[in-house]
């Protein structure tokens, strides 16, 4: 039924502005500003004038900022609550162990920013200087930027539609004074929507080194990961690999492992095989991971003997290998 509603020529979804009408032909189309759907669109005159076929003016600025960043990694998952932010934080902390490596974390989950809490810097604020917004530093070589730093209180809801979110993401890429970075890790909200399209659009010129997909073992989550893989293929993002999180739980009392989220359809490993992407590893569920995130401390440093720490570190090493570092 979607096919019935879709216009005959499917526009490149990247070139549809966020405030476009439903059947927008795409601003880089020859029909831009001239189709029936364009009547009444706020952008019609601009499209008809041909100006939209020129590149976005913020792109050169983003390219310049991003030219100082060696590796850009996205952390994605179709489903929410599978551990994207936790994984992002562990990745950040693990990279930052080496004092010579500069790491930046960008939290583009605008409606539910968890990164500040996980790093224990929820009460910090962003300062602006002549060279842009300064990220909040967890340690000398680990900077963080999140919408969470810009809200008056943590209770405030950000009720924004797509265009406003895109505007902020564009600012995160062009106005944050990251300095020279070895790694920029981008934590995303769940799904495949505005935020994801905008990141791809803004980083088109400077390139994305790859995406790490996170899932949990049950089919309901895997279903969403299949969609995310499809998304990556559609927009041409290289997939570094798949991480299975919350895989098995070790009872602190009797040390028996049980499966909370049963891999009824073979879990992440089988999905990776079927879709031809690399399976980076499985991280067991450890209640201390959630606790560390709530207290804002590094799980890897606090509990070096946990099996989850070993799993995280193996996965992070593998990611470095794949990136060739």
């Amino acid at each position: 039924m979607i096919a019935v509603q879709a216009p005959p020529n499917i526009p490149n979804s990247l070139s549809v502005p966020a405030n476009a009408p439903e059947h927008c032909p795409g601003t880089d189309s020859d029909l831009a500003g001239k189709t029936d759907a364009c009547a009444g669109c706020a952008n019609q005159d601009i499209c008809a004038s041909g100006a939209t076929k020129l590149p976005d003016p913020s792109l050169p600025l983003i390219r310049e900022r991003m030219s100082n960043v060696k590796r850009k990694i996205l952390v994605l998952s179709g489903k929410g609550g599978v551990g994207k932010s936790t994984f992002t934080a562990q990745l950040g902390w693990a990279f930052a162990v080496d004092e010579d490596i500069q790491t930046g974390i960008m939290d583009v989950d605008i409606c539910g920013p968890s990164i500040p809490t996980i790093f224990g810097i929820a009460s910090e604020q962003v300062h602006s200087s002549s060279s842009g917004w300064s990220p909040v530093y967890v340690q000398d070589n680990l900077g963080v930027m999140s919408v969470g730093f810009m809200l008056p209180t943590s209770k405030d809801a950000v009720m924004w539609r797509g265009p406003k979110k895109n505007g902020l993401i564009s600012q995160f890429f062009k106005d944050v004074d990251w300095g020279d970075l070895d790694y920029l890790i981008v934590d995303t909200p769940p799904g495949t929507s505005d935020e994801h399209l905008s990141i791809v659009q803004y980083l088109k010129e400077s390139g994305i080194d790859g995406a790490v997909l996170i899932t949990t073992p049950q089919e309901v989550a895997l279903q969403d990961v299949r969609r995310e893989i499809d998304f990556c293929k559609k927009v041409g993002i290289r997939i570094i690999g798949l991480v299975e999180n919350m895989s098995g739980f070790v009872c602190p009392n009797c040390k028996t492992e049980s499966q909370i989220f049963k891999p009824s359809t073979g879990g992440g490993r089988r999905l990776a095989e079927e879709t031809g992407i690399e399976f980076l590893g499985a991280v067991p569920l450890d209640p201390r991971i959630g606790k560390s995130a709530d207290y804002g401390v590094s799980f890897l440093d606090e509990y070096p003997d946990s099996p989850a720490t070993t799993a995280y570190l193996d996965i992070i090493d593998r990611i470095k290998d794949i990136l060739g570092d």
Binding site: I110, S154, S193, C251, K291
Partner: protein, 291 residues
């Protein structure tokens, strides 16, 4: 109703729905869809004539079809002269009291992604609200995506004409990160003046199947504390129930040795430990609605 009701296709369509319940949560993966599913099942069995609809507006990650065991090429939405015909999850027991609608039914393959920006999502939601032939419904449960963004604003906007029948249930998990997002969600309901029926704390504790030791995988008690502080009704807490994960992950599929009086998802669900607890929560929800 004393207020002037705007006559839109959505208002006209939802005229035949008694109560609309939104299931919200700030954070993803806290169990909105599983709570929506359970709420629908419990409302369904609350009376032998109850008619329940469930609308999945999580457009980029629809989980509802899987949980109701209606994902697969054979389940598709049909167009009729009076609108889109939803999929009936209880069709196997010969009834049509549990109607399901999701973007999942419109996809050709299960791995297809829906990569849409706001305006398209908005249009789809409007169609879901105005074009689905629900018929007479006692309850319409709406499962939402995480956050407070396009989908939520669109829902509130389109349902402006039936606002007096709309209320919300907030789902959270006990850890601080999730509670923070639940607070944001609560702020949202206050800004848009949406009455909240109560708060459900999900994934509160896990019972080791081997030794029976209860571990607080995602901590515990945070939801109750938040409800008290914010003056919300606390509907109850649900433990992590692997049996329930199994049932919902497979949509109740598999052997069904029971007599075919009720559909297999419902009979399987009834046997889980969570079903018992949820029954009490459903009573809380129904009393909050005040019929």
């Amino acid at each position: 109703m004393s207020t002037v009701v705007e006559d839109t296709p959505v208002t006209r369509r939802l005229q035949s729905v008694k109560h609309i319940i939104l299931v919200l949560s700030g954070k993803g993966g806290v169990g909105k869809s599983s709570v929506s599913t359970q709420l629908a099942l419990n409302l369904y069995s609350s009376s032998p004539t109850a008619r329940v609809g469930i609308l999945d507006v999580d457009l980029t990650g629809p989980s509802i079809p899987r949980m109701f065991g209606v994902d697969g090429p054979q389940y598709a939405v049909h167009q009729s002269t009076s609108g889109w015909v939803p999929v009936y999850a209880d069709a196997e027991s010969g009834e049509q009291r549990l109607a399901v609608m999701s973007v999942g039914f419109l996809l050709k393959k299960k791995g297809d992604s829906v990569v849409w920006r706001g305006p398209k999502k908005n249009a789809m939601i409007r169609q879901f609200l105005s074009d689905v032939r629900w018929g007479e419904l006692d309850y319409l449960v709406i499962d939402t995506p995480p956050g407070t963004s396009d989908e939520h604003l669109s829902l509130m906007e389109h349902m402006a004409g039936v606002r007096s029948r709309v209320s919300a249930v907030i789902v959270t998990t006990p850890q601080a990160v999730a509670l923070m997002d639940a607070m944001k969600c609560l702020s949202f309901t206050r800004v848009v003046e949406l009455p909240v029926l109560g708060l459900i704390e999900n994934m509160s504790g896990y019972v080791c199947p081997c030794c029976g030791e209860v571990s607080n995988v995602f901590s515990t008690g945070g939801g109750e504390e938040m409800a008290r502080r914010e003056g919300l009704k606390f509907l109850g807490s649900l433990p992590v129930d692997t049996e329930l994960v199994d049932v919902l992950d497979s949509g109740g599929k598999g052997s069904n040795e029971e007599a075919r009086e009720e559909f297999s998802l419902l009979s399987k669900y009834r046997k889980t430990a969570t079903a018992m607890i949820f029954g009490g929560m459903t009573d809380g929800v129904i009393s909050g609605l005040g019929s």
